[in-house]
């Protein structure tokens, strides 16, 4: 049995999802020969630490009751630098402008010889190459399946399962909020702003939806795919980006008359072109999935076209991708 000491940096929707999934899958992990001992958890207020392993059930209850798990005034980076452990599960908020605390946490993790599994896109859209190099130099694993498409497998699928295929392009829907808005506009014969209000009320869109609707989130994912799958060295500034704010109900209706729908499509091509733009997708086409779903279509030389679809967000769904990354690191040992 391999015992892995881990920290969870960020205890919001995804951090708590990870805790739940670790509890749910404890026995299955044992069958893989892995025992995960969470020795530290942090949120914005501070940290809770137990070198012998925290009681995750209790941590979830405390967070629900008090709004914070903080017992010590330690930040994420303090934990990464000072608490002895093997794996940092970095699930703090995304910041695509500076990389935020996440970037510093990841760098510190590698410098301390700790592996990182993350759902936080920010650092990867800015410093992909540097982070990978630092990880490698320090003999650490670095996994980030959850950063693109939540539960939908795409990075490990293309890098491992489909190894040997030459991939010419990947295109897909990588933002559930935009997909929801476009789907509902047509269903409800409503304007963009009417459906945006509905999406905010339902918690599908943020109160400031810029990040999603202007295609920034999708662009971040396109950059991660370009770097991870195609070995490019791109940043978010390399993406030719258009969002969905100008899409009208009338345009959706006209498209429907032509047997098409409008989707916000992110695309990486082998030639280094990265785009995010609304595109006309034939109804019935593998990419014409509705609601908050994500989908990706991979063009390959041997396998032809492969399409995967799945939930792009959600606490347990995203945590499932984090769990599969954890297993793939420690199963190999």
């Amino acid at each position: 049995m391999k015992t892995v000491k881990a920290s969870i940096i960020g205890f919001g929707s995804i951090g708590q999802g990870v805790a739940r999934v670790l509890l749910m899958k404890k026995e299955d992990l044992k069958k893989e020969g892995i025992e995960i001992k969470v020795v530290a958890i942090t949120d914005s207020k501070g940290a809770v630490i137990d070198e012998n392993g925290l009681d995750l059930e209790k941590c979830l209850a405390v967070k629900a009751e008090k709004g914070t798990i903080a017992e010590k005034a330690m930040t994420g980076i303090d934990v990464v630098n000072q608490v002895e452990h093997d794996l940092v599960i970095e699930v703090s908020p995304t910041d695509v402008i500076t990389g935020g605390a996440g970037l510093l946490n990841m760098q510190a993790a590698f410098e301390n010889g700790r592996s990182v599994v993350t759902s936080n896109k920010g650092p990867l859209t800015l410093k992909f190459k540097e982070l990978n190099e630092t990880a490698e130099k320090n003999g650490c694993a670095f996994r980030y399946e959850a950063t693109v498409g939540g539960a939908m497998p795409i990075i490990n699928l293309t890098k491992e399962v489909m190894a040997g295929n030459e991939i010419s392009s990947i295109k897909g829907i990588f933002n559930g909020t935009c997909n929801y808005i476009l789907t509902r506009m047509l269903e409800e014969k409503s304007t963009y702003s009417e459906i945006l209000t509905e999406a905010v009320d339902l918690g599908i869109a943020e109160t400031d939806p810029t990040y999603d609707v202007e295609g920034i989130d999708t662009a971040g994912k396109v950059v991660i795919l370009a770097n991870a799958v195609f070995g490019m060295n791109k940043t978010i500034n390399d993406v030719d980006r258009t969002g969905i704010t100008q899409i009208t109900y009338e345009a959706l209706e006209m498209s429907a008359k032509n047997g098409k729908t409008i989707k916000l499509i992110g695309e990486v091509r082998k030639d280094g072109t990265l785009t995010v733009s609304p595109r006309l997708v034939p109804i019935g086409h593998p990419l014409s999935v509705s609601g908050t779903l994500n989908v990706a279509s991979i063009q390959t030389d041997l396998a032809g076209e492969i399409t995967v679809t799945g939930k792009g967000a959600g606490s347990i769904e995203t945590a499932s991708a984090i769990l599969s990354d954890i297993i793939s690191i420690y199963k190999q040992d």
Partner: protein
């Protein structure tokens, strides 16, 4: 029926007139001539030779007669294509489509000689609100379609319109 006819001429003055003479004599309807000065549909095919593409509308015996007549004057007919337009796409434009001179947009596509706008629908919910337009374009072939899409991107950028292109397009 509409056909494209690729012919090879000597790169000398008067050759094109010579080539067009059988067209008018046989009363075929000449739709367009793509000359190498204007488009790269006409390319130099060898030393002192140029290729020109004609688009004609005539019955097939008439086309055959034109071909014979041309060959008698020493013009090589390289290829006769049945249909003029082999590619078609529908795109969406959103914004001040009408205010930015929709007729100019259409004529700039038609003027390329390699494509034409065959259908258009407009929807304007209210004055001052952005207009949505669906435009169907036929193009001679795949390469020509790419050129027209590049032109459309240019026009929509210039006029500050959102262009929504089909997913199949590269």
């Amino acid at each position: 029926m509409k056909v494209t006819m690729d012919i090879e001429l000597r790169d000398e003055p008067g050759q094109l007139i010579l080539a067009l003479e059988p067209v008018s004599r046989n009363k075929a309807n000449l739709i367009s001539v793509f000359h190498y000065h204007k488009t790269n549909n006409a390319t130099k095919t060898g030393s002192g030779k140029v290729q020109v593409q004609l688009v004609l509308d005539a019955k097939s015996p008439v086309i055959a007669k034109i071909k014979d007549d041309m060959e008698k004057t020493g013009i090589r007919v390289l290829r006769i294509g049945e249909e003029k337009y082999r590619e078609t796409i529908t795109v969406i434009m959103i914004g001040h489509v009408v205010n930015t001179d929709i007729r100019d947009t259409i004529s700039r596509i038609d003027e390329t000689g390699i494509a034409e706008v065959t259908d258009m629908s407009l929807s304007m919910p209210e004055i001052d609100e952005p207009t949505s337009a669906a435009i169907t374009i036929n193009a001679v072939g795949k390469d020509e379609l790419k050129k027209v899409v590049a032109l459309l991107k240019e026009i929509t950028k210039e006029k500050d319109l959102l262009l929504v292109l089909p997913i199949e397009l590269e």
